[in-house]
Symmetry: C2
């Protein structure tokens, strides 16, 4: 039996073909695969990645209809998209989950535990008995608490509140406003900024011991703690902190729960799914 | 001596011609006049309004170069715009301030006091000895605390937090999510929403005694109180609450300070400015 794992998101997709024992035989890559924003384009890109993985493994394309596939794809939580994609795939079997669920399965394998993914956005999840519950991840406008974008936006908001006198002026806040040519420049930046643009300010906040930076980070840590506590429901499950800010929060929250490293990637999670995990 | 007042914003401009005693002799209107987004268009529209006001007063257009003008215009706080406009105006004298400052002067006349303008956005101001200090008004992404848009966004954010279990579910929160076809619908709405779209939810929050609505309104009232307290600096200046939400906050904050009605409009403020106020 051959298995195919695919991890796909807005920036590209990765595929791996593995044998019964989980040994990876070949790998491939393709373009973006968000099935909510472009289902047909996602299908083409993930099939290209699958063919490349078969070729890398020295296997003929005629193996495609025999593959048992696990797919973790951006947009798979949107209604109907996964069903429509499944009907258009050539594999013997296809289990489709969101990229977030694949990341949780990759990080925890079959263990019970909690995953906090903290990058430009944020999402939190618990796996218990193989079932995954996701919370958060609603995007920066209404949520994404403690994400890089949330941290960057928070420090810019504080910079304007310092201009007004609501909060004390600090060197970091004054520098941020000066860099934008004054408060109107900060407002203009905010009007054009995508989440990644706000997140670009996060590393300075994380690295700074400016009082305003520490206050924003204290709030971010409290948000992560609240989300993990909610998912623990009084238990003491181990916690994996993923994403660019994962190590930052691991350092700040390690005393609170057992923080463990990820077992594997979202692609590993997709392969596990393919193999029935 | 003849005076011209102009109140201009993104949706249109209004003009009034008055005599030495402040008696309005004629009125006119024109198209949008935001000098930051379209200075030349704003100039044409406000001159059209001025000519209409002269005609309404039975005065010839040849009076234009003798008018002493006060202009409250959106975008006038942006750098350089007011100077560029002034150089292109035909009046004997032109004093240009932001539409917010004109609203403050109209609301307070020459009195010392505080103005909180609470509509789709929010901005707070103090006038003392004729000098106006503005705080807030940075827009919804980084500020506009307690505005209609801020209230609407806050209740939608709480609705998603109730889905996740961070806060208790309530009838209003459940109804908001159901109306959008589920949490993904709320997220989609947020991605496309302009401030006015968020503000459209504010009347329901204001009118509801749902616990989540009351919690959002308590936070909004605290934001208004903090801004007014900051501007009071320990004084007990009278407070005018303007905008669609003004009466809402007046009812909730009337015991705290002397809340007084506005003396006049932003157009009255522009006329006062023209007359040297």
């Amino acid at each position: 039996m051959l298995y195919l794992g695919i991890d796909g998101g807005g920036s590209g997709c990765r595929a791996a073909v593995a044998d019964e024992a989980g040994r990876v035989l070949g790998r491939g890559a393709g373009g973006p695969a968000n099935i909510a924003s472009d289902l047909e384009g996602a299908r083409e890109n993930l099939l290209r990645a699958a063919r490349a993985a078969l070729a890398d493994a020295g296997l003929p394309e005629s193996e495609m209809p025999r593959l048992r596939a696990g797919l973790g794809l951006a947009g798979a939580n949107g209604r109907g998209f996964a069903e429509r994609l499944r009907a258009a795939l050539p594999f013997a079997e296809a289990r489709i989950v969101s990229d977030a669920v694949a990341a949780v399965k990759g990080a925890l394998g079959e263990r019970d535990g909690i995953v906090a993914a903290l990058g430009t956005g944020s999402v939190f999840a618990r796996q218990r008995g193989g079932a995954v519950r996701l919370i958060g991840g609603w995007g920066l406008i209404l949520g994404d608490e403690a994400s890089g974008a949330w941290i960057g936006r928070a420090i810019l908001s504080q910079a304007l509140r310092a201009v007004d006198g609501f909060v004390p002026q600090t060197p970091l806040l004054a520098a941020l406003v000066a860099e934008q040519g004054g408060p109107d420049g900060v407002v203009n930046l905010s009007l054009a900024a995508r989440p990644a643009d706000f997140a670009a300010f996060a590393p300075r906040v994380v690295a700074s011991d400016d009082p305003a930076a520490r206050e924003v980070m204290d709030r971010a840590v409290a948000e992560v703690a609240a989300a993990v506590d909610l998912l623990q429901e009084g238990a003491a499950l181990p916690v994996v902190l993923l994403g660019g800010l994962g190590p930052v929060f691991a350092a700040r929250l390690g005393g609170r729960w057992a923080v463990i490293p990820a077992l594997g990637t979202a692609l590993d999670g997709a392969l596990l799914l393919a193999r029935g995990g």
